[in-house]
Symmetry: C2
Subunit: 375 residues, 2 copies
């Protein structure tokens, strides 16, 4: 097994520090071992600090973030419930798909890809649907690089007395996420973006209101694995834990170390670093003649969506960067396939040397691709 050393500048995973990799390789212990339970308590507390919440039910789901999305929606929604779901990229669409599979009536709210979710439209729709149980949206759309105004959207939901579900898979650690201040109800993320921990876990937090809604369900949660009523007994801090599933012990070691490092740097410092590196990258890309898909005001600093110039073979550029220079950048997804590159600057990847190396190599490869286009 030969694993190359890549500079990971795609939409995730981001580069993982040697310290986190080393943490992964500590000896496996039992998931009910007091030493592991104590570590789980630490991780829950670390996640509360990173999400900026006092929510007791804050923990890492033992699966990728897509399952956290599913857990958020299938716990809150019962057959016949109405869900207002904003869609301005791939992941809003996925939320709608999951909500339908849970038997919910989905009120879809579509916005142009590359634009944020419009709060005014959401407010009108919420007014028109007093029967709605929740509003779901993506804070940081990984497919387009757009940041939506989570604070305002959560506030609209809260004022209307409905629950909010916030996808911030790409947001957490890279831009402000303030769960309690936003009065958000269910917020989830992934480990492999701005937390710079290998993929496989999904931090999630549930407000008291969300838990009350789950306890008040008339029907069982359709998924046994995601049923929060069962998961609660496993992750709850009081007394002995009841067996639910076997937690991914070594992955939790890595998450613990990654969160320690982030909290040591400080959340604000991390946000500033991501913003500063984005500015540096944006300037350099402009010098290369490249343009962004997203207006400056709504760009995610950690996910830069760049339009592929007309005469350039986008797949050639990605392959050259990967195969000759060990740099991964991402392709477009869904409607944007073939039209954009997605350049990640997340977590450990958000360093000056990453920007310099990418810009240098991208310059070379674009020149070569341009020559091919002419020939």
């Amino acid at each position: 097994m030969h694993i190359p050393n890549r500079l990971l500048m795609g939409p995730g995973p981001s580069n993982v520090s040697p310290a986190v990799l080393k943490a992964l390789a500590q000896p496996t212990i039992g998931h009910l071992d007091p030493a592991f339970q104590s570590l789980m308590e630490d991780v829950k507390e670390q996640l509360r600090r990173v999400f900026r919440t006092k929510n007791e039910m804050t923990f890492p789901i033992s699966a990728p973030a897509s399952l956290a999305m599913e857990a958020a929606l299938v716990n809150l929604l019962e057959p016949g419930d109405t869900a207002i779901i904003a869609q301005n990229g791939v992941f809003g669409g996925r939320m709608a798909d999951i909500a339908k599979r849970a038997g919910a009536k989905v009120v879809p709210l579509s916005f142009e890809w590359g634009k944020p979710v419009c709060p005014e439209t959401v407010a009108e729709t919420v007014q028109l649907h007093p029967e709605a149980k929740l509003l779901a949206f993506v804070h940081a759309e990984t497919s387009t690089g757009v940041c939506s105004d989570a604070e305002r959207l959560c506030s609209i939901a809260h004022d209307a007395g409905i629950l909010s579900v916030v996808d911030t898979v790409t947001g957490l650690g890279g831009i402000p996420v303030n769960v309690d201040e936003w009065k958000a109800d269910v917020v989830y993320s992934g480990t492999q973006k701005c937390l710079s921990v290998p993929p496989g876990l999904a931090p999630i937090t549930f407000s008291e209101r969300a838990i009350e809604a789950i306890k008040a369900r008339r029907t069982q949660v359709q998924s046994w694995f995601c049923d929060l009523n069962l998961v609660l007994g496993y992750w709850s801090g009081t007394g002995g834990r009841s067996y639910h599933h076997t937690a991914p012990v070594n992955a939790i070691y890595g998450l613990h170390r990654g969160l320690s490092d982030l909290l040591e740097e400080g959340l604000e410092a991390s946000w500033i670093r991501h913003r500063a590196l984005h500015d540096r990258l944006a300037d350099a890309l402009q010098e290369l003649g490249l343009e962004f898909l997203v207006d400056e005001a709504h760009r995610l600093p950690q996910l830069n969506t760049v339009l592929v110039p007309h005469d350039i073979d986008e797949a050639f550029v990605r392959a050259e960067l990967l195969n000759k220079h060990d740099i991964e950048i991402g392709a477009g997804l869904g409607n944007l396939a073939g039209k954009v590159w997605r350049i990640g600057l997340m977590g450990q990847t958000a360093r000056p040397e990453s920007v310099e190396r990418l810009v240098d190599m991208l310059g070379h490869v674009l020149t070569e691709a341009g020559r091919q286009a002419v020939a």
Copy 2:
């Protein structure tokens, strides 16, 4: 973060070799990187060899084995379908719970805990329910230490023209599993038992018949994450992969290494090793005056369920072994809580030195516990 060095002799996880731990700590790369896709192809082929199958759809689910159980059942079952589910422990009960949540009518077949699933009873029930779509059972019941006759049970299902779902979470690698010879339809396992890889992944295999049944569904699979129609595009070997979720890259490194080591040892050699170590343990436990829950003919060599003597505080014994001697053994689960210990001899744990160390220390602790009981 201080992680103790434990001898893991509970129901899983088992001890992980230094080589597998080292593999986990290799640099993270992208899940769509050709280098990772090539590794995924290797892992799929390794799993085919370990499951003894030619099934194309053989891969590790990116979550613990409980989600593989859910994936098996929710893909095959539609609302109104009938599922015959044998229950002789915790995990058969969990299967029934999941099947009900999928809207299926469950024909429960209960057997005494500590006894195997009775093929004659299953055959009669299958005859009585020509409308049944599948038979599900646990090959290696982790809650009791019982091995059921998977070959015969699958054959009953196959002869009746219904699908079989086999839980061999604790079986794979430790006792014979022959998916193709059994004509089994969906078989799943976990990584943290006899494969000796950290928890978090769940190998699964689907027969052609199972895939046809999934393709012939009238309704969508209720879980987006588990929907095999979507997962197929991500793990399929032909052409480019379509994005589904982000695979747990580093965990797959560990699985690859663990499977390589198992295949190098040889499956038969591993089965023989597990059996030989079980025999050694059983003799030693008998000398300590301990008795097994399960008749010799139906014992899993890798999971030894031992009755707690009347006058002994079972939790004290487990705590002493863990805290003073760094040895983990398991408690009873469900109906057997407080009545048994579960002593695992799985994967890397199945070594002569594990048996010797446990027997020595257990002898000491039992003497101490006996003294307390008298006092």
